[in-house]
Symmetry: C2
Subunit: 200 residues, 2 copies
């Protein structure tokens, strides 16, 4: 039996060190939801505390700073997104099917209201400069995933692929701003977006 590699830090069992405690996880989920709904500046530590049932100051037992909290959430979201998208893409052949799988998976993640991975990829302008730099760096790496997907598309020659990829990513990120549960599903939205972006 093969030993799993890099299993060292995945201990998420509750109640041990604070890093992976259930209480901390709960706070992160609350914060993610608030950041997604009200933006970085529109969410105060006191707001987060209120929904967690504690005062704002008490949160600092679990996190280092508001900045660090936001960065952690952002990176966790992109980590999970990268992994799940790569998996979904592997299951498809055909360039359009692969692109559709990637878009549907990303929207599934971004539009789920229960996980850490709610969208906060938008309000870069709301965030302090040093934070923004880190977000953009992580973000660029994530977007590279879509680079190869777009390269593989049979697009008409008058369409610039780097512009095309930019427009597509904008569309995917903006979805969280107009999505309303009960109307179009994440999968249906992905299908509509790909239908618009599809040329052959």
């Amino acid at each position: 039996m093969l030993a799993p590699i890099a299993m060292t830090k995945i201990d998420l069992s509750p109640g041990q060190n604070d890093e992976g405690s259930a209480r901390r996880r709960q706070i992160l989920e609350i914060a993610a939801r608030l950041f997604a709904r009200k933006g970085y500046r529109g969410t105060s530590m006191r707001d987060i505390g209120e929904q967690a049932g504690v005062l704002g100051g008490s949160l600092y037992h679990h996190i280092k700073s508001k900045d660090a909290l936001f960065i952690e959430l952002h990176n966790a979201a992109l980590d999970e997104a990268e992994e799940r998208i790569a998996e979904a893409v592997r299951a498809q052949s055909g360039p359009w099917a692969r692109l559709l799988a990637a878009c549907a998976t990303l929207l599934d993640i971004q539009l789920a209201s229960d996980s850490l991975t709610t969208p906060m990829m938008n309000d870069f302008r709301e965030v302090p400069e040093p934070v923004r730099e880190q977000l953009i760096a992580r973000r660029d790496r994530f977007e590279g995933l879509f680079r190869s997907l777009v390269e593989a598309l049979p697009l008409p020659p008058h369409i610039d692929r780097s512009v095309y990829r930019n427009l597509l990513l904008i569309q995917l990120n903006a979805t969280a701003d107009w999505y309303r549960p009960g109307r179009l599903t994440p999968g249906e939205i992905a299908a509509q977006i790909v239908a618009v972006f599809r040329h052959e």
Copy 2:
């Protein structure tokens, strides 16, 4: 000679009442630029004052409140955009040519750095609730302009026109976030967007 109707308030000559003074206009331009670059919450009255060479409190001689200032700028931008787009569309026949003319004109306006009409159509979430309601109402009216343009397009039947229009407007609004002078011109960006959205 026909008497002009509702001409009463259009006096924009400088130096008279404060409504249309050159100083006020100058302050509005500064505010528009800052709002566009740093967002609503990211722009303080003291920031605006600093660039205007006065203290923040002194601005209240020219404006009633930060909210009112933002709404005024937003409405002025949409007023000008509506007028110029309607004019540009009239000059074209063909549904795709008309759409392209509308997109190019909107981007021209949104990406111009010198006028009041810099983009601030994005950060609705950053703005206080009562302000947001007004912005959305005005905004809905503006977007109606694109409704008929999209109706006229010969789109494949599997594309939902209301989703299509939504995606297009998102794309146009998001442009201000990634546009950098000296690279693609507003007209070239409009052409690329319409190329992606073009089906027949």
